[in-house]
Amino acid sequence: AQSVTQPDIHITVSEGASLELRCNYSYGATPYLFWYVQSPGQGLQLLLKYFSGDTLVQGIKGFEAEFKRSQSSFNLRKPSVHWSDAAEYFCAVGARGSGNTGKLIFGQGTTLQVKP
């Protein structure tokens, strides 16, 4: 069965420190991969996506993610975290191929807290 695992439910980092949020997926083939961010009381905003090509993808707000096929992972990174990055982060996968309706499978989310 398809699934997405975000092993870290809650992460706390100091402002200015680097960040890595983990995402592992279980899927029959290489899916489409996404990272979304959600601030309290808001909808989800797309940070970045991987469809094909370069396995290191750049996103908005200084985030990047690396697709590693051998590890079935798509970890999100940021070199220097800002207090405004405190939010909930969701990894998601989507199916490829005909009959695709764009449905996504979401991980359970990682809450990021930023210490001053």
Partner: protein
């Protein structure tokens, strides 16, 4: 700016009183989704419309219905809200079939059931 709009942002309804949540989009996307999200959980897909075709998730209660009268609008109807239906309801859209499959989300409607 092209966007996904949800109205109202906050909705209070009484136990058992029907309620309708609204979503509109200016992106001209062919697929519209409705999610339910409870506190500290991932969004849970309720159903989606691919053009005019309605696709219900197997575990979506019959209490939840949806309508899509045209490309731009989609409604979520909760026929008899229970206390357990209090949640954030998110609408999202996607352009499927053109190689771009990301979903764009609205700001959500926070539903309170009293």
């Amino acid at each position: 700016d092209a966007m996904v709009i949800q109205n109202p942002r906050y909705q209070v309804t009484q136990f058992g009183k029907p309620v309708t949540l609204s979503c509109s989009q200016t992106l001209n996307h062919n697929v519209m989704y409705w999610y339910q999200q409870k506190s500290s959980q991932a969004p849970k897909l309720l159903f989606h419309y691919y053009d005019k075709d309605f696709n219900n998730e197997a575990d979506t209660p019959d209490n939840f219905q949806s309508r899509r009268p045209n490309t731009s609008f989609c409604f979520l109807d909760i026929r008899s809200p229970g206390l357990g239906d209090a949640a954030m309801y998110l609408c999202a859209t996607s352009r499927v079939g053109t190689g771009s499959y990301e979903q764009y989300f609205g700001p959500g409607t926070r539903l309170t059931v009293t």
